[in-house]
Symmetry: C2
Subunit: 337 residues, 2 copies
């Protein structure tokens, strides 16, 4: 019984209906999804009970391979979009989900991905409430891509964003850097570091929720494509301030550091799927660090540097020499997320 996805699964007819009800609705089951309408409908009166701003974001997921230590494309599609909501202070609540499937994809592969999405969403209190499926002929897409868009509500009084960053602020990360990128690189390039590498793919909303009560949080981001370096550049662009981070303060696992040294790559540029970069008022630094370390997703949190006035992103080396940290132009490989 090697059932495969066929073009009929995307043509609007009976096979598509069977796929929707037998796979998607069965796994994602919730009252908003199961109405039989073309759109989910959310009562605004319920949203206003949760906060005063709606956060809305989207990402597509094209990771290769589909399954990797620590996660898979389905888990990633929930975590990545949930995290892009959560860094605004929002509680992620509702996702849309668009699948693009290659003709011939084993149905079992799709089911495994869907089960993973459903479990990740359920664990995070997120509902997948609307969706779409397209099937394209063999060769028009590589196996399976997913887009998720997400909605969350930002509680009243939370105002985190790049424009709030000030010179003198502290820069923190929530844990070890580069785990996801190193895991995918190791798999794709057959580097053979098998035992100790796993993606850090996780929904960060529960960790971020512990920060809401702390005054002095300026801005946070999850450091995915482009790694911490890309986020530091975004902070500089958005705030007009400089970022000065210290190499010796960076939490990097031994295996990841080894892989980087082997290939001459910089862990600061590696993708993460469960790590935050935070800028906070120095007066709040210790409270934030304590809150992060008190949660399993933040136990390796560290202060890594300081916001400056000079509008440059700089890395201070082990011997105190500081150099410009350029935006990475070419990551070592595409399709990491």
């Amino acid at each position: 019984m090697n059932k495969q996805i066929t073009l009929a699964h995307g043509n609007g007819g009976g096979a598509m209906q069977a796929l929707i009800s037998g796979v998607f609705i069965k796994a994602f089951d919730n009252p908003l999804l199961s109405t039989g309408e073309d759109q989910a409908r959310l009562a605004l009166s319920e949203l206003t009970l949760l906060g005063d701003q709606l956060a809305f974001t989207t990402d597509s997921y094209v990771v290769d391979p589909l399954f990797f230590p620590g996660g898979d494309i389905g888990k990633l599609a929930v975590c990545g979009t949930a995290n892009d909501l959560a860094v605004s202070g929002a509680t992620p609540r509702w996702l849309s989900c668009g699948f693009i499937l290659e003709e011939g994809l084993p149905l079992a592969t799709l089911e495994r991905v869907v089960r993973s999405m459903a479990a990740t969403a359920r664990g995070a209190g997120i509902q997948i409430v609307t969706g779409d499926t397209k099937v394209v002929p063999r060769g028009a897409v590589d196996k399976l891509f997913i887009n998720t868009a997400g909605l969350g509500v930002i509680p009243a009084g939370i105002d985190w964003g790049v424009t709030r960053i000030r010179a003198g602020d502290s820069i923190l990360v929530s844990g070890t850097l580069g785990d996801h990128g190193a895991t995918i690189l190791n798999l794709r390039e057959n580097l053979g570091m098998e035992a100790e590498l796993a993606s850090d793919c996780a929904v960060l909303a529960p960790l971020i929720a512990t920060l809401r009560a702390i005054a002095g949080v300026r801005a946070l981001r999850d450091a995915t494509r482009g790694g911490v370096t890309a986020i530091l550049h975004e902070f500089t662009r958005g705030s007009g301030c400089g970022m000065d981070v210290s190499e010796s303060a960076l939490p990097v696992k031994t295996t990841v550091r080894g892989l980087c040294e082997l290939l001459g790559l910089e862990p600061l540029n590696f993708a993460n799927e469960g790590k935050l970069v935070l800028v906070v008022d120095p007066a709040a630094e210790q409270d934030v660090l304590q809150a992060l370390r008190g949660h399993p997703l933040g136990r390796d949190a560290a202060v890594i540097g300081q916001v400056t006035n000079d509008k440059q992103v700089r890395l201070r080396g082990l011997y105190g020499v500081s150099r410009l940290l350029d935006l990475p132009h070419d990551e070592p490989l595409p399709r990491i997320c």
Copy 2:
């Protein structure tokens, strides 16, 4: 100057930033998009002024070819998602946009698609407020796919949906059937009917807005993949009622009918991208017909049948003989939307 998309345009670094600011933000320009944050933030107090329910939907677009008479993948990606919102009675307002690009895609192709999206959105009062770009190596995707997710607000007092359909209701369509599907089929199969075929791709929200004041509208859908037949089956599934439509009442352009007869296909199964199927209280039938015909997007509107008690979808032929109208299993070709 044949600039192309490279993997660097999707890696989170400088080339990606340049693409985002130079192409996407430039074309879609609006204050919600340009904040430099990873999510758009909408004030719930403004949403509640527009209505009492939020509508949320998504679709991916994989149409081949990218450009066709009457539209292109960018216009389609705005119209399709806007229409899935509008059929709930919502005013479509905000879209997310996820691009998946093939390495080597001409930059000019992307720019043409983006300009078309921007123009379509602007014309419909819709803002593209958040987005994502992935680039995959040559061969991992065919040229360019787009996902859009959409948000709209349903005004208070509007309650349209399949569960409101009753036996005895009238079934209408808002215009000629099968134009989009026939246009793509003609192009892809080189059937040579060039002069008169064009996609009906359009944002239907202004047409639908004219119906809000009419009591007795039960449910509407835009008839895309699977055509009118698929919608009639959705209505039957959602309402438990039967659908009985009359062949002679179906508005179909001569060219589309000719193409269908040539290939032995059924225009009721062909995709549309700017046509509604509506179910209304028979007491409201003439008001709805008049409202539709009074708008340029509905001037060929027609009553095509009646809701019955027997939970079957039936087509009454020209000589009065009625047959079951099965859900199409295989559309004549994939990638029509």
